[in-house]
Symmetry: C2
Subunit: 224 residues, 2 copies
């Protein structure tokens, strides 16, 4: 089997175990075992657990890079729903990362710098998308650029933490949870949207139902 | 020394160490050592680390209970600033808890139930405060009660995660950070407030400067 293939299998095994048990409870040996390779073979590809976490983060960034920067070219409300649902899906896929974020970043300055840089880039993209919506008459932006940044920040904080918030109540993550998360985000944006709120909700609902129901992987659920 | 006094000292030592190093890196022995007592004496009061975490959470809830339920009796915008700053201060004091929240709650169903119950109570209190603001002509609430709940949810998610968000960028937590957090929350509420935004900001600024500058304990800062 090729190196690339082995690395992909290792990362998939690590992702499954981290999502299920958390990074603290999963040793590199256990990842190797889950993957059906020797510990030595794993170490040839990834020196330690920190390397695995970093590689999984990089994989998430690569998934974002494959297309996200083109969002502002499709400035519609339906696309906005798709955009936020896509983000919630990514957070669901890399569930452990967003559960353990403060701790992971606190103990790895390199990861923290990469994370901050990626986030800054994404926030600019969301801003650019909002500006495109405004130039198509779909949104009335606040006059002050700092206020737009605050609004974008808030949507980001909510989407990053919505699944945690759901898990705090011992609820499973389902398509409905993702839909509810988008509604919370929409509530922040609603005062600035020009369209009829009912229409937004109906359009978003269809988009989200379609996207979110494809999303929810079995085995990734809140601990009960 | 009395039992209550020893317990208070143990909890203070645990809080300091957890805030500095995270719960995973701090053993019960280390808490005992930091506190200048034997491990046996500590275990007499707290069976294990999980008990310490639970007792610290209970302490935070007790601090909230000492007065927070009276907020709706003072429905002013200045009090709203004080209310959110008080919450951010509490989150700063129990920093480790909010850093490790998803993990701590996932692995302790008892703590999760208590946390969910307390949060539900607090969200109702914030709603009640908003309704009091509305009845004094200071806020125009959305017509749908579910939308008000979404807005309150969002302010809660932002305040709970703002200091984490700050630390992701490697920034120290200062009075300015707390002020910025309140501005983010204010941005969510602004479309529903009836007062002049500049006036709100000026009033809030004075309140927050006063409260937040008393807040920031030395030694509690973001890792850099």
């Amino acid at each position: 089997m090729g190196t690339r293939n082995t690395q992909a299998r290792i990362l998939q095994a690590a992702l499954e175990l981290f999502n299920e048990y958390g990074t603290a409870a999963v040793s590199a040996s256990r990842v190797a075992e889950h993957c059906g390779i020797s510990k030595g073979n794993l170490q040839y590809h990834f020196h330690n657990k920190r390397d695995l976490v970093f590689a999984l983060f990089q994989q998430a960034v690569d998934e974002m890079d494959a297309g996200w920067y083109r969002d502002h070219l499709v400035p519609t409300l339906e696309h906005m729903a798709a955009m936020f649902v896509r983000q919630l899906k990514l957070i669901l896929k890399y569930r452990f990362f967003y559960r353990e974020l403060p701790d992971l970043l606190r103990h790895d300055p390199h990861l923290r710098r990469r994370f901050a840089r990626n986030r800054e880039r994404r926030l600019c993209e969301v801003e650019r998308f909002m500006q495109a919506l405004a130039s198509h008459g779909l949104m009335r932006l606040p006059p002050d650029a700092r206020r737009l940044r605050s609004i974008v920040d808030v949507t980001w904080i909510v989407s990053e933490n919505w699944l945690n918030y759901t898990e705090y109540h011992g609820r499973e993550v389902t398509a409905t949870t993702i839909l509810e998360g988008y509604y919370e985000i929409l509530e922040v944006l609603r005062p600035y949207l020009c369209a009829d709120p009912r229409q937004i909700t109906q359009q978003s609902y269809r988009t989200i139902e379609r996207l979110a129901s494809q999303t929810v992987a079995p085995g990734i659920r809140a601990a009960v």
